[in-house]
Symmetry: none
Subunit: 366 residues, 2 copies
Amino acid sequence: MKIDPQSPLPKYHQLKEIIKESSKKGMIKPNERIQSESELMTIYKISRHTVRHAMGDLVNEGWLYREPGIGTFCADRLSRTSKKTFIIGVISVVVSNYIFPSIIHGIDNVIHPKGYSIVLGNANHNTEKEAAHLQDMINRNVDGLIIEPTRSALPSPNIKYFHKLREKGIPFVMIDSYLDELNPSYVCVDDVLGGYLAAEYLLELGHGRISIIYKSDHLPSTKRFQGYKKALKKYKVDYSEELVKSFVLPEDKNPASPLIKELFKIKKPPTAIFCYNDQIALQAYKAITKLGLKIPHDVSLVGFDDSDLAILSEIPLTTVAHPKGKMGEKAGKMLLQLIESSSTSQVQQFIYKPQLIIRDSCKSMC
Amino acid sequence: MKIDPQSPLPKYHQLKEIIKESSKKGMIKPNERIQSESELMTIYKISRHTVRHAMGDLVNEGWLYREPGIGTFCADRLSRTSKKTFIIGVISVVVSNYIFPSIIHGIDNVIHPKGYSIVLGNANHNTEKEAAHLQDMINRNVDGLIIEPTRSALPSPNIKYFHKLREKGIPFVMIDSYLDELNPSYVCVDDVLGGYLAAEYLLELGHGRISIIYKSDHLPSTKRFQGYKKALKKYKVDYSEELVKSFVLPEDKNPASPLIKELFKIKKPPTAIFCYNDQIALQAYKAITKLGLKIPHDVSLVGFDDSDLAILSEIPLTTVAHPKGKMGEKAGKMLLQLIESSSTSQVQQFIYKPQLIIRDSCKSMC
DNA sequence: ATAAATTTGTGCGTATGTATC
DNA sequence: GGATACATACGCACAAATTTA
């Protein structure tokens, strides 16, 4: 292993990783002396200052200890593991959202038996609040973090906090959505496929004018939109801008209602609508019935997530299954593995294949 | 204060002490910017490197944090000034319940600005799990606890944990429900009144056979039942056992469906049904429509809580308002007061007066 | 026992990069 | 773009602790 001066990672950081790796892999054992500062200087062709920076950090993080006049030694594992707080941070966009409580439930199911507890952070659609919670989690020395990133379809202003987490060796798992540039561990649904399945189903039923309502700052939502476009292309149905509606408002402000009104003002209104989640689908449902139209007779409707809402509505909603609790459990398990392996570099990614759940909100046009 | 080059203590060590002292004495406050590195260089006539050495140590020890391009700041909490953990435990019956997420949201709104975070515990309708979480919260040294007690209508096997909390001086607030024998601080709804209002409304509409579905191990639910009986008595309507249905299953198992079937098998079925919450009301709604009956034409329906479900359902549900988020905020404020006053004996109790919200799920019989 | 060599600790000077305002 | 503040990195010197010749 060598140090690359061209790497975006600072040299001292690279050296830290090299030492940590050789400690993890047992190449250097507890209380064994490692190379002296001057040896490391010549081996890696870096200055004494840089060597000391790296080693100083590792001493603070409990990987090494120094003895003046003698050398630097590998610390035993205990000094590291005993620093655990047994707290796992969970930051979500809206804790009171209809889906996230189930995810939290799933996470708790997995981590509580292992002695961990959840510290909750609620970003509330606000990247600044998200930043505050991230800093807070770092200050609290959480053992790991599960986060549903806020406004994931836009460039995140909070990237630096994730770098901080990595520097500190705090593993994190993104859930439901992820920031690609970080190449993080994550658990997600194949949203493109989900959107495709929903649109394909409507196309197979003979619908030619299929509308979509999605949230433009939400990555899964935009992926569902991609899937929708993919299906239209496959079935050679024209893509029409006027049938595509998006919003950025939080769901609890009922963004669907005005969009539905717009959709039914156009000359050839849609015969089917795909909503990126069930909450919006039910808002659409209400707005559509207010216009005097009936579901599925006049308009077919497909949601996403298979939430409780989908079953509780008057006409059970055709929707796409979301693993919810299972996804929480998976993220919890993944994080526990990352914590226990204490390897910062490891990346795990898991993508659920969604399934269409056919109920009664769609009609065949044939 | 100055740095003495003759001192046996290293300069960086002296600077650390100076900064720590001014932090302890409150001369620099949390999140306040301290002098820049170059300022400290000139003030104390030491090199940049020495300043960075001192400040780097203090960052590692949790006294300071740095923001590139902005400055170095005094860290809050995480230390020395007190033994506070700035963690508030929240234990609920079901975190994924439709109401509790809003309550958590409300709690978070109040406590997060004060630097506290929520550690979540999910009892999942299980008193043993509740016990495990209570012990866990005690072990974690939470600064306070907010709890929705599980199976609150039954004698609690977990009383001893609340005594432990009191012994340890950890204040707690019960929410939505409470264990009377403890004479605890709590925030609740006047459930008897709520049940009374719901039943009174149906009675005023001319209904003579009013059924109730409630959860028998849940204190608020049984109080709503009491209010129902009170109203019947007041209006001199006979109380009929066959119209009263209760269950203990968690709501997500759809306990309402079989009960509705039973209700409509009896000779004179009810013309109105009061369900102790909206979730059950919507399950009832579905079961009723499955029987070929229409709401409100054939059966009137009243729920409780005014959840999102009440508005999203096909026929907007008449229900009783529950403060939800506001209640969470109130409980948070109350707990913060108890923490700050650090008086164990103080008891605060707050009872919201519920209001009936009339929508379209009830019909007048007159 | 002493001196020399090694190793870590403290400290200064300088330069360049990057983030923020 | 310029000023400011922190981040990384190189070089040098000397001190203190320890080991070894």
